[in-house]
Amino acid sequence: MYSEKVMEHFLNPRNTGTITNADGVGEVGNASCGDIMHIEIKVNNDVIEDIKFQTFGCAAAIASSSMLTELVKGKSLAEAEKITNKSVAEALGGLPPVKMHCSNLAADALRKAIEDYRRKFAKEGA
């Protein structure tokens, strides 16, 4: 059912956990099945210097979170924002159709974390 890449990320998820004094935090829940994804980022000069995730969900959700963190670590915020659930799923070598929504979680949580960072940053700048 899952590609080798999905299984590999699921079995050895990268960048799990939280960041002390994170610059941005994003959490989303999944309406389809009730899962939760939590992402924290550390930003320096508009670049995602560090990213960590926590996921309450299936293997596809865990692998998507893990893959997402790999895709955006070291990338600029502008580049990171371009990541979609589709690019996450593609990087994983595809997901079964019923599991596509799991990769939405990852992209959405990241976007929220970036929004959160921008909000905080704007406040500090004011």
Binding site: M7, G17, C33, D35, Q54, F56, C58, A59
Partner: protein, 388 residues
């Protein structure tokens, strides 16, 4: 790699003793049991012997057994055939919220045929309380279908009392005993039911064969029309090897008596206690006493079932879950939800079901493998405070 099968409620391995008696009827004795020549008549004899063995397992008479393609068909036959043939009494059907889909969805389908369906709630353990049935039953209730033992949590219903309530009202009573037969005593006379479904692959027999017990004198309509087999109740040339296998599986079940039940109960006790000792924040589901042996249904807080199953599979352990993510429909188990368990808790559901070939080493292996898996998933869960 070591493999440990802990999913006996899903299906059981075919007993080699059963396969031995089936084999000659696959290639060698291929004859149609309805033909007139002597070789066919021999096959017919074997089919009837098997029927007698299955009847004996259920304390029924051979004429009361209709072979079907399994538990699903038996349930369909009982509900559709029983309700339609007796619709003169009324067009109201009662079932429960914890039924297998083969019962629940079949009852709901009858709504399209002009029947009204009441789905009874169950208590926190998954039981239908007699007073709930008493309140719901009416003059027009033609059929009540309530399962003997639940496939997900193992809870046993008080069928005898429930059947009495139905009969006082003049309604037919059917029970899905697919998870009971082979695990606990199933005596149709003692239970007092009109119809009862059994599936062979849950008692070390072959898949695709089962039966519906229909008490003598009960009017039912057949689902299939055709060659008049099974006393005109189930048209189609008999699945001879499967029927013969089912007969042998029933016979072996009788021979084993309570020996198997005791063996499985011993293992189950150690399994439950071991999990409780090693893993915090868990909820055992199902009735603490009134349940079939070998079924351990437990929810681990903060984590999801499909990920648990895949990590267990990596270590050769096979089990199942009622989590939304592990289902095709992305819906959490309707049984757990009907018992009042939240979506979030149902997410972490794991069902381990023991069988006759499991040994203490299997339980020990599970107890060694499971705690680190739960811990690993909890550490990456946003709900687990211990991980922050």
């Amino acid at each position: 790699m070591r493999t440990v099968y802990l999913d006996h409620n899903a299906t059981t391995p075919l007993d080699p003793e059963v396969y031995k008696v089936m084999e000659p009827f696959i290639v060698e004795n291929f004859y149609n049991p309805s033909s007139v020549y002597s070789r066919s008549r021999k096959v017919r004899e074997k089919v009837e012997e098997a029927r007698a063995k299955v009847a004996s397992l259920l304390n029924a008479s051979p004429e009361e057994i209709i072979f079907t393609s399994g538990g699903t068909e038996a349930n369909n036959q009982a509900i559709i055939g029983g309700a339609k043939a007796n619709a003169g009494k009324g067009r109201h059907i009662i079932t429960s919220a914890a039924e297998h889909h083969a019962v629940l969805d079949t009852c709901l389908r009858m709504e399209k045929e002009g029947f009204e369906v009441t789905v009874l709630p169950v208590d926190e353990y998954g039981r239908v309380l007699p007073e709930t049935l008493e309140k719901a039953i009416r003059t027009e209730t033609v059929l009540v279908s309530i399962m003997y033992a639940n496939n997900e949590v193992g809870t046993i219903n008080d069928i005898k009392t429930l059947a009495e309530i139905a009969h006082k009202n003049g309604s037919l009573f059917h029970t899905d005993a697919v998870q009971a037969a082979g695990k606990i005593k199933v005596d149709v006379k003692d239970l007092g039911v009109d119809m009862l479904s059994v599936s062979a692959h849950k008692l070390y027999g072959p898949k695709g064969i089962g039966c519906l017990y229909v008490k003598k004198g009960t009017k039912i309509e057949s689902l299939l029309t055709g060659g008049g087999q099974e006393n005109k109740m189930r048209a189609g040339t008999e699945n001879v090897p499967a029927i013969i296998g089912f007969g042998r599986a029933a016979e072996l079940t009788i021979e084993r008596g309570t020996e198997l039940e005791n063996h499985i109960k011993d293992l189950e006790k150690i399994l439950r206690e071991g999990i409780k000792e090693r893993i915090p924040d868990i909820i055992f589901t199902g009735h603490p006493e009134e349940r079939i042996p070998g079924c351990v249904s437990v929810c681990f807080k903060y984590i999801e079932g499909e990920s648990m199953l895949l990590l267990l599979d990596q270590r050769g352990i096979m089990a199942s879950s009622g989590s939304a993510c592990s289902s095709k429909s992305l819906k959490a188990s309707h049984v757990l939800l009907a018992m009042g368990i939240s979506h979030e808790i149902a997410h972490g559901s794991l069902r381990l079901s023991l069988g006759k070939d499991n040994r203490m080493e299997d339980v020990e292996y599970l107890l060694e493998v499971l705690p680190p898996i739960v811990e690993k998933l909890r550490l990456i869960s946003p709900l687990y405070q211990g991980g922050r």
